[in-house]
């Protein structure tokens, strides 16, 4: 094609006509008038008036008060029910001793044996009793949480009051946090959790397939002025309070304790599950 002044003007004319037609086409394609631009809501957000607040939430578990698995059961059950934690019955039907039994397991608070929970405290002179007592385990809400550092989307984050939270909307299911967590406190939803729920607590959301979940220190209950479900179900065996407040229950429970394996009062609070080591 010859490059000429005439050709250039022709092309310019066609382009201009096309540009002029664009708005007409958009109008035709739209669903009619009334489409407006998005606006941000003008309201304000604030804390609930009756919310429990603290500078640094912490939990102390008095393990002396738990002697058998049946002592832990109601506590674990309370948490599972409130937070819609699934149990997959078809997994449980797997062969005895098969690891398949636990392959889709979701746990927020669970039963663990001493050696798994306090490996550095375990030794061959450990009181025989300790070997047979079940212990409660849950997310430590670490002061310097490795899961938060590992998360590429900031789906898991630490609140100002120390609670390590999950934002399931942002979780992409990469499971870096699970690899990073030294305590095994995180579970991945390999299946749609609703398949494993007989009853759903409507007020609390379930999760979806493909996200990691864990204990949230009952942030949703604290906001309503209630203590965590496990604390309420424990008859005083689990204390919950502000670690920065010297007059709080948790601080009183920690004061003056020498924590030795022979004295199995093992604390599990915010930053150091391994208090038996630290306080020795």
């Amino acid at each position: 094609m010859e490059n000429s002044r005439r050709m250039f003007l022709k092309m310019a004319g066609i382009t201009a006509a096309g540009l002029a037609a664009a708005p007409a086409l958009t109008t035709l394609a739209s669903s009619g008038p009334g489409e407006k631009h998005k606006e941000k809501p003008v309201g304000k957000v604030m804390n609930n008036a009756d919310a429990l607040t603290a500078k640094h939430w912490g939990m102390v578990i008095d393990t002396r008060k738990f002697t058998s698995a049946s002592d832990l059961e109601p506590i674990i059950e309370a948490c599972n029910k409130i937070h819609n934690i699934p149990k997959f019955d078809d997994d449980l039907k797997a062969m005895m001793f098969s690891s398949d039994k636990k392959r889709h397991e979701i746990k927020w608070i669970w039963e663990e044996e001493f050696g798994h929970l306090f490996p550095d405290c375990e030794n061959r002179y450990l009181a025989e009793r300790l070997r047979h007592i079940p212990f409660l385990a849950l997310c430590n809400h670490c002061e310097n949480p490795p899961c938060v550092r590992a998360c590429p989307t900031k789906a898991t984050f630490q609140r100002a009051d120390g609670i390590v939270m999950m934002d399931y909307h942002r979780c992409i299911g990469c499971r870096f946090c699970m690899a990073a967590c030294p305590y095994g406190s995180r579970s991945f939803n390999f299946r749609d959790p609703r398949e494993g729920l007989k009853e759903i607590n409507v007020e609390y959301p379930t999760r979806m397939r493909g996200v990691v979940e864990k204990c949230n220190f009952c942030a949703e209950r604290l906001a309503k002025g209630q203590l965590p479900a496990c604390v309420e179900a424990s008859n005083g065996a689990i204390l919950f309070g502000d670690l920065d407040d010297p007059d709080s229950d948790v601080r009183a429970a920690l004061r003056g304790r020498v924590l030795e394996p022979s004295l199995p009062f093992i604390t599990s609070y915010n930053n150091m599950r391994w208090s038996c080591l630290i306080q020795r």
Binding site: S31, P41, G43, V45, H169, T206, M208, A223
Partner: protein, 129 residues
């Protein structure tokens, strides 16, 4: 250009067929039927939503985004609307408390406009009235 006439008629027919929906909308005089939303007795009684209805129709997703951000990441769960009224920021416990007919309220519009929000993968739907 060989077969100039054939090619041009072909092109014209092609564009006519492709743009049929546009011409149809323009000349049929019919407005596309907007989905009809049903309000529950509770929603009718309340008359106003969290914000004015006009705002909610266009911007409810912006409001929900704001709520989500505030509740999950900041831990602040009370919303004070433009009239100073307070609301608990919760999709299931506040929105669906009034609009408990999700299939005739949320879904109708979402289906019509072909949006598929994934809210319900996790958030529960309250029992119907």
């Amino acid at each position: 250009m060989k077969n100039k006439r054939l090619i041009l008629t072909g092109l014209i027919i092609f564009f006519a067929i492709v743009t049929v929906p546009l011409w149809y909308n323009l000349f049929s005089g019919k407005k596309p039927a907007a989905p009809e939303l049903e309000y529950t007795a509770k929603a009718k009684a309340a008359k106003v939503c969290v914000e004015p209805t006009a705002f909610m129709k266009v911007n409810h997703m912006e409001l929900l985004y704001m709520w989500r951000e505030s509740v999950v990441r900041k831990g602040e769960r009370t919303y004070v609307n433009s009239n100073g009224k307070k609301f608990n920021m919760s999709l299931t416990n506040t929105c669906l408390d009034c609009h408990s007919n999700k299939d005739k309220f949320c879904d109708r519009c979402h289906e019509y406009s072909s949006v598929r929000p994934y809210c319900w993968d996790c958030h529960n739907v309250k029992e119907k009235e």
